[in-house]
Subunit: 349 residues, 2 copies
């Protein structure tokens, strides 16, 4: 086996930490640096930040880019923000430094109107440096876009794609509960919604990925967010939602083509959601009616998919790639990883 893949981690929130923990367990990968702006984490040893019983002798830096010139890494793993505009400047620096980038930034999952210029800039920079940038995650990136797309492969006609993802927030991290407004009064929820503080980012990206990949020109996409009201007091380890307060959200994207509903995505994130699941319906010939009982796990799955992308990233064409362009994604194969490292930039997919 050749040398290890050197990963530089940016952002050590719950997802960033989960990715770093997986990186530590993965043969052929070595963490060379870690950065996080939060005063809770910056300055500490990475082992402590990850809740490990041992020190890793990697001090979590309190800046993202001051010492980039000294960084010797192959891949940057960026898990800082859902917002493309918040990530863009750092992404360009990382690309200019010659690093491949894997990111969980939701807005990078697929170009949508308003973000296309930023995609073009990043793509141009990445192609110039012959590196690849890939956004990945369970949602967007898998459950409500790549997987539904894959499920159209056996169809000679597709009239509509519907995906419903129901997540019980009871056991999920506090920050996700907060993003879904769990625990707020209805009044507080309305204000938070107006301020853009409750919402999942990604339904528009998923909708555009599906439509564009299948060659569908959309008339319009409607996105709506509604509060779910707790029918009774809901107590979880991390949060108490009194009856009548908000337990989470239902967020919908509805895309129309020639006046017909053609993509319908329903995301339900709330405390006490019954029958958590992913359900995908391909209304086509033949139809496919697919249920994932319990749903595809959240943060752990997003961390895993980010890691599993690494060998694919190393052999992908330079530029900004989206998940629909990558060859069949699967749990990382250690020999594939080693082969990708050996190939050293000779892309094959």
């Amino acid at each position: 086996m050749g040398r290890a893949l050197r990963c530089a981690h940016f952002g050590l929130g719950p997802i960033g930490q989960a990715i770093a923990r997986l990186a530590l367990e993965t043969p052929g990968i070595t963490i060379v640096s870690a950065a996080d702006l939060s005063p809770d984490r910056a300055g500490k040893d990475l082992g402590e930040v990850l809740g490990l019983p041992r020190r890793l002798r990697i001090r979590v830096r309190d800046d993202m880019d001051r010492r980039l010139s000294k960084l010797r890494a192959d891949v940057a793993i960026l898990a800082t923000s859902s917002s493309l505009s918040e990530c863009k400047e750092l992404l360009i620096k990382l690309i200019k430094k010659g690093l491949h980038v894997v990111t969980t930034c939701e807005e990078l999952a697929y170009p949508i109107p308003g973000n296309q210029a930023a995609f073009k800039t990043l793509d141009r920079e990445a192609r110039a440096k012959k590196v690849t940038l890939l956004s990945t995650g369970v949602n967007p990136g898998f459950a409500m876009d790549a997987l539904p797309l894959m499920l159209t492969a056996p169809c000679s006609e597709v009239r509509r794609i519907s995906a419903t993802r129901v997540v019980d927030l009871a056991a999920r991290r506090r920050s996700l509960q907060r993003k879904a407004g769990a625990g707020l009064s209805v009044h507080q929820f309305r204000r938070a919604l107006a301020e853009g503080n409750v919402r999942h980012v990604g339904l528009l990206q998923s909708t555009h990925m599906i439509a564009h990949t299948l060659g569908w020109k959309l008339d319009r996409i409607d996105e709506t967010i509604e509060p779910v009201i707790a029918p009774r007091d809901l107590d979880t380890e991390q949060i108490r939602v009194p009856a009548g307060a908000v337990s989470g959200i239902k967020q919908y994207a509805r895309a129309y083509r020639k006046g017909e509903l053609i993509v319908s995505l329903d995301l339900q994130l709330y405390v006490g959601a019954e029958a958590p699941r992913d359900h995908i319906l391909v209304d086509g010939a033949p139809p496919l009616d697919v249920t994932i009982a319990g749903g595809i796990g959240g943060d752990a799955a997003t961390a895993a998919i980010a890691m599993n992308c690494l060998p694919k990233l190393l052999v992908a064409r330079p530029g900004v790639r989206t998940i629909n362009e990558i060859s069949l994604l699967h749990r990382m194969n250690p020999s594939e990883m080693a082969a990708a490292m050996k190939r050293g930039g000779k892309y094959v997919t």
Copy 2:
């Protein structure tokens, strides 16, 4: 839009016919020739063979390769046999002629011990002529291999993959019922089994595809076939199975790694099967428990997936490609097809 993709069809059994019907409906594709050895079809107009109300002015040839030198085509679509050794000679001629090939030949879905030399020969010839050969279909090729693999993408660990496919043969074509031994007495079934006349071809290919893609070295694979005995008289449009006779088969592949069962494929093909479905269980972290209610349709789906592969085939690396190497497969996008035609051999995936 540029010129159409010229397809030459070899084999017009039920699957070959279904593919040809789809090809006729697909903008950007034109059928330039068709061949079938069966006296029922050879010599007739293709429209008649396909059961269309119109002539297509394409006479179904009664040979496969005598007039290949005159053929002007881009892609050969081969749906003649499950057996690689039966297809190999023609495949080499088609490749040498400079044609891409899509085939539903099950043994080409993935190289397994015993077939690897033939794969190498075909791969060498295809690379020399810069064309691509791809085997495709629902099973093998999707339901019990590519889709289970894709479902491991969100996992940081996979301990076992199980796939169960239950197909009610009542409404399926007579040749598939025959392959499953439906209607035979138990005695006749035993003889047909010993002679190799009842079985599905593909479980070993699927098992190897899964294991090899995930980097699993297998100790061994056990494949078994059992008859299903009709509990009562079963009447279908095409066949009557008396109580006590064979209504179909249960065929299993079990693969072991370090003594542990790691891939488990169950294919149940019988008349009167209850709750037809595809069920995939990824025993991993996180686990995924996926059910496709009713199952993924058979022949129509295999024909569709073969068509949907065409744009991917045109931009794939030359050589023998397997479905796990192709970028995310989905219902064909007409613009992708046109773009692939324009690219004319400049492969991108």
